[in-house]
Amino acid sequence: MLRLTACLLLLMRLAAFGEVHPPAQVTAGKGFSISTTGSGDASFYLISPGHVAKREVKLGQDIPVDASDVKKAGRYLAIACGSGGCNSAAFYVMAAEPDKVSFFLHPSRVRVKSNDAINATAFVFDQFYNLVLTPVTVDFKVIPKTGPPIDRPIKSNLGVAWMRVASTPKQGPVKVIAEVGKASEPRVIQQVASDACNLRIKATRTAKAVLIETDPLRDCSGNAIPDGTIVSFTEIDGKGKTTVDVPIKKGIARTQLPVNGRAKISVASGVVIGNEISLGGGL
């Protein structure tokens, strides 16, 4: 008799010891129900990467889970603790549809006609800022000031898509856009002239010196070298070597050099060396 009572008590305890059965996979931001077994009152815990919820439930009934409780993607634990103990089950919440794109564009300034100089990286998120792990096409659009736009559709891998592209030949702002569905993130990169091309100087005698000036300074794509760029003039004469650094003003660099006897004058800007002129007479 005693043994029978003990068995009945054990069975009652097992019946009250509720199991929780969440779906194996849920989409972020969508409510659902977790079915339970057993009977009696229980405390229900939902533990997620970014949220913990607790409430009292009745075992044997479905537990509704609100959409606001499953905004964060990741692994969730559903735990029910009744009079017979606790039982738990894990399930995953996956990101919802792509809705936002986080876009990084580097550098902010780039020389024209440079290979792989523009780097674009886009992270694809759903509306709750969960990374969308399923492959999604990110449309990168490069829109230069002049010339045709460049389209680069790239499939994301575990939430990230990236590309490298050459800068275009003309200086000025270039817009780069990353698009995923309706989400669009524009960024602007400034293309600047490259090194001077065909750097040439000419000399003009003045009363007390020689005026040295460059031709209008442009890169090999015809972009004007920006004012302020330093041009170095070097004079070698009987007294030795003299170097004068001059910023470009209105597209031209100029300086006056006193010349004693025979002299050679050369010009350089950055890594570019220009022509050399020889002066025969002193002043």
């Binding site: 996979q25 405390s43 815990y45 533990i47 997620s48 990467p49 970014g50 949220h51 913990v52 919820a53 607790k54 964060k72 993607a73 990741g74 692994r75 634990l77 735990i79 603790c81 606790c86 738990s88 894990a90 995953y92 996956m94 990084f104 580097h106 550098p107 780097n119 990286t121 992270f123 800022y129 969960n130 990374l131 792990l133 891998n157 575990l158 939430g159 990230v160 990236w162 490298r164």
Partner: protein, 180 residues
Amino acid sequence: MISGLSRRLLRLVGLGLPIALASPLLLEVLAAGSLPQVQLSAGSIEPRPIEELTGTNVARDYAYAWRDLAQALDHNQADRLDAYFTGFAKDTFTQRISDQKTADVHVLYVDHGHKVKAFFYSPDGGEMQLLDKAQLEIQVYAGGKLIHQENAAQDYLVLMTPGADRWFVRSLEPIAGSSF
């Protein structure tokens, strides 16, 4: 009344403390031993290769981040996230700790190590994405009572970004193993 186990512990502390004080090297080893183990591989990383020193620093800082996360979730102290977490990751775990306090829950992670594969390093060096196969023992306590315990082989998708002197965890998302 001191039990046999307590007596053994006291003896160990009694022996260990003078040795530890006498040897700074041992202290370092003990300190290093308290960090979770992180093995980083970056053989197939793209588009930018990872420098050896960067790899060492990322592995070190990721280990520190997990140490801090485990302490923060166990003691419900969000300020422990300040040193190695930023952005979404910090916001997410701060919210969770706030919720844990409300529900009188705390979670203990016993960390058995991380096999981490770095697979994306942005061309400008501003972002690194990693996949972590973590071995964790997870214990959930409610009102001081153990309500759940499991040994979990959990995969994480991690986004780390460099700061002035360290790498920060910007996103740490547990994902299903089939995701990669």
